[in-house]
Symmetry: C2
Subunit: 324 residues, 2 copies
């Protein structure tokens, strides 16, 4: 059996685990990132955590083929550095070099959303499929594109940023500097904003009652009020799924994945979200008669996507003979 | 020397030529498509034309490795058929089989916009670059995506349809059934529409004089009136380049090509179009500090893109050992 280590670097936690070559996770561990520290200290902890999960699995370094790291931001896997990250104090961070000082194994780096896509492609909803895209609806919108079983993110590893493609020209200002980006209309955050706007316009709606009882705006409120029969909430969900379907149809027209995987907490709403979303999305792309259609599926890897995806990204680089 | 035949199938003309393995065109010939005929007759003519350019080049069948066909619509290169085309009477057209009855060589089929991208990647503006996207601004917007030197168009060969990604949610109705597609705002046709709208609103503008003198709306009028100092025309060009830049920035954020090639008649306007377009486009994508940037270039292959691209697509399939 071949083993790999996956490290999932986040703003709050660093998670790591040993993963088999078929994407099965053997064990996992988590520590706090403490992101205010210098990057060298954080990277050192990542290496130590990797060492620790290898020991916990009763394995030796020689049993492990490679370490894969999934990180926010833009990596340079050739040079083994994290070029830049919005959320972490990493700037031209020499991850490969510093990790290898702690655990001397080939080290590969990719973006966390890309790794999530890899996890679904190897062991999740897009298992057995060569071309897939995984879209994660959260604070923003993440995307992981798999082409011929490999992560595709452009010549500079900064692509597949579907969250930052404009859907509503001149619309809501986005953190990236553009106006009307998909993530301002299709993310969980966007659903919260649409909920608040509708509640403000309709002070007597049940939507307002639910907001008051919850104490704050979140992505669940519109669905909850809709289940209570509130027409205003129904309208909010309708508007949200319309935008979301438009953005997903754009992804399909651009990449034509065999399977489009959707993940993120919003998906826990189940059928009231998914059935209309699937219908709306599939009616929009430009399939001609007789042309095979993309299938939309829910993400299956859950919280393990980060570790498994990072490990399997590492495997794909190792298999391709990339210098780690 | 290795040779390939490229066939460029269009609604008006069928063009074919012999091309070397480095993308140099040896000769070419053109005949009328007469698209109202049964598809069998058209495909037979394509085969005969291929045979004829081989003979004209004083070559034998054994000197030619493969025939590549660039066609409008969605092909199935595995089965050797054209599944469907909007503009031609082709429906599950068995191109490979029928062409091979006339010229018995491996036959490969791909979309014409994808072949144009291949031509630029092998011998044009993106020569020597592994990942590029070629966008052609015409009646609509065509796109050809090259990933690792190969055409990428998804699992069903129907992808890279950037012309049909929504840019203005709820905007202009598109032939594909969606509203607000990029090609309704960024194509040459769209520039004509913006020109007409502005002229109707400003009956005393020079823009109206130019339209009258030209006798009809086209994509050159706004630029012509702008060169005459007309403020209304300047505004039209400003609006058009804004939309175009937004769409091109979407392509960059999604695919992050090393080179983004722009082609089509509108590009003949030169610097008054290109300088603001380049500035606007490059200010929008989500490059972090230190991240390498896409370069925008003008298409170089002109009218030969179809033949050369089809031939080089054929070469790439032949090199990959695909059954032709």
């Amino acid at each position: 059996m071949e083993y790999y280590v996956g490290i999932d670097l986040g703003g709050t936690n660093i998670k790591a685990g040993v993963v088999t070559d078929t994407g099965e996770m053997i064990n996992k561990k988590s520590i706090k990132t403490n992101a205010e520290r210098p990057m060298e200290a954080i990277i050192n902890d990542m290496g130590t955590l990797a060492k620790s999960v290898i020991e916990d699995a009763k394995l030796n370094l020689k049993d492990i083929k490679a370490i894969g790291i999934g990180s926010p931001g833009t990596p340079d896997n050739k040079e083994g550095i994290l070029v830049y990250s919005n959320n972490l104090p990493f700037n031209m961070a020499p991850m490969r070099k510093l990790i290898r000082e702690v655990v001397d194994l080939p080290v590969y780096i990719d973006n966390d959303a890309n790794c999530a896509g890899m996890a679904e492609a190897v062991a999740g909803a897009a298992k057995g499929v060569k071309n897939s895209v995984t879209i994660t609806l959260g604070t923003g919108i993440g995307a992981g594109v798999i082409v011929n079983g490999r992560i595709y993110s452009g010549f500079n590893q900064a692509g597949s940023e579907f969250g930052h493609t404009v859907l509503v020209s001149g619309g809501e200002p986005c953190s990236c500097g553009r106006k009307g980006c998909f993530e301002k209309y299709g993310s969980a955050t966007a659903l919260g904003r649409l909920t608040k706007e509708a509640a403000d316009k309709n002070p007597d709606s049940k939507l307002n009652d639910v907001i008051k009882s919850e104490g704050k705006i979140n992505a669940k409120i519109a669905f909850k009020a809709m289940r209570m029969g509130d027409e205003v909430a129904k309208e909010v969900v309708e508007t949200y799924t319309d935008y979301l379907a438009d953005g997903l149809a754009n992804v399909i027209n651009a990449f034509m994945p065999e399977v489009l995987v959707i993940g993120g907490g919003v998906c826990n709403e189940g059928d009231p979200l998914l059935i209309p979303l699937q219908e709306k999305t599939m009616s929009r792309p430009y399939f001609g008669p007789g042309v095979k259609k993309t299938v939309i599926k829910l993400a299956e890897m859950g919280n393990d996507a980060g570790i498994v995806g990072a490990a399997m990204m590492g495997k794909s680089c190792y298999d391709d003979g990339i210098q780690g």
